[in-house]
Amino acid sequence: MQQLLTTSLAGLTLGMVYAAFALALVLIWRSTRIVNFAQAPMAMITTYIALLIVDAGIPYWIGFVAALLSGLVLGAIIERVFIRPVEGKPEMNAIILTLGLFVVINAVAAIVFGSHYRSFPVPFGLRGFEVGDVTVALTGFDVFSICSVVVVMMLLLALFRYTDVGLKMRASAFNQEVSRMLGVKVTGMLTLGWALAAVVGSLSGLLIAGGDLVYPSYMDSVVVYGFVAAVLGGLDSPVGAVIGGLLLGLGLSVVSGYVGSELVPLAALSILIVVLLVRPSGLFSHATARRV
């Protein structure tokens, strides 16, 4: 019982972080029909930026905000410089390009920051809450992780639902030509979409790093989990990404807790294959027909 609770709580936290990463992938997929495999090393770079700031003796929160802001800038630059030329080209070009960026960014980080493991600080305690004489396996940082992802999701929801910019971004994602006819500067919206996605990705990078070790490839497996979560929910559906992330987090946590952490990637692969074969449009996609 105790272990099940521990496992579920760990899964919930992890699930929220995967949800954030999956959401980043979905935002980009919706606007440019590209799966950004480079999302993982982009989040890694911004986490290193936070780490450098914190290691210089500057408060955690400044590093936190700086990481998110640098994610914004990095996302915009990557879209403008590298992605713009392959938009509308065969999809294999974009896939290979984002993989190339994946490798380049990882290598650059290893050269600049070194490939050794560095511990990343947390703003809150890493001890579980005590209820009576039982320690619940939910730390302050876990609560912060869950809350920050929820807040970011609410902000994104508000942006898309209630603001003109959000409306323009959604319109650009659904129909570029009609959006242009209506006066929307579609290219700007795509850049903004990548920038926002990179912020969300950076958040997940910071949350995974918190209280743990950071090294250049620490996000590599997260891109796989984020992708599986996004496909699970339907690549087109932000809500699906969140639910897919939570389900995957719980599922993988059970595998990790009861079977073995080495098999977590295999479990993710199995879930992915089952979803793609049984319900390729994902659990929550509205798209009626999708070519998979």
Binding site: A171, E177, R180, M181, L182, G183, V184
Partner: protein, 234 residues
Amino acid sequence: MLEIRDLTTSYGPVKALDGVTFTAARGKITAVLGANGAGKTTLLRTVSGLIRADRGNTYLDGLDLARMPAEKMPGLGLAHVPEGRGVITELTVEENLRLGALGRADRSRPADIDRVYSLFPVLESRRSAVAHILSGGEQQMLVIARALMAEPKVLLLDEPSLGLAPRIVVQIFELIRGLVESEGLTVLLVEQNARSALSIADIGVVLDLGRLVAHDEAAALAADEKLRHAYLGF
């Protein structure tokens, strides 16, 4: 008024528009007619900046629109209703309309969505419905309504009757006629169905393989039996 001068556009080696020159008079409906592939849709897409012209100009009240990007057009008073509806089906009716208002030139006062709803009451009753559940006629009304949200001086309409029941077509045509008469809107109407287009248009131009072959009063074109047989198919 919209002045089109020597407009030439090609797809690779094929000329889709070849030196087209005419003027769409202010407060009139000008019907652009011709067979499939005559260059009607290309004409609208070139005017609205979706396709770059090889040569020639389009003037909107004296301002040259050629080589301006498509996204500037609504702000200059030109709205384009594309062929095949062009509703953003994932957005709601009201979001489509809000989007239409974002491009308008004068954004000092709030967009008048109620005016559009009074023109299209059916849209108001479905304002929060996702657009893909609308019927074909409702979608066509939505795109016209969305174009009107930008408060255009010139409206480019591409095949508004396509795939709609005759009763709905009449309804839409009467509405356009009404807007032209009450607000002095200039309309460039592309239609495959020449007979019904000439019945509401003031002026007609006929394209054949990218060239302008006739330009006259709508009634005169409708009365010209040779022209009708050769180009208009009725």
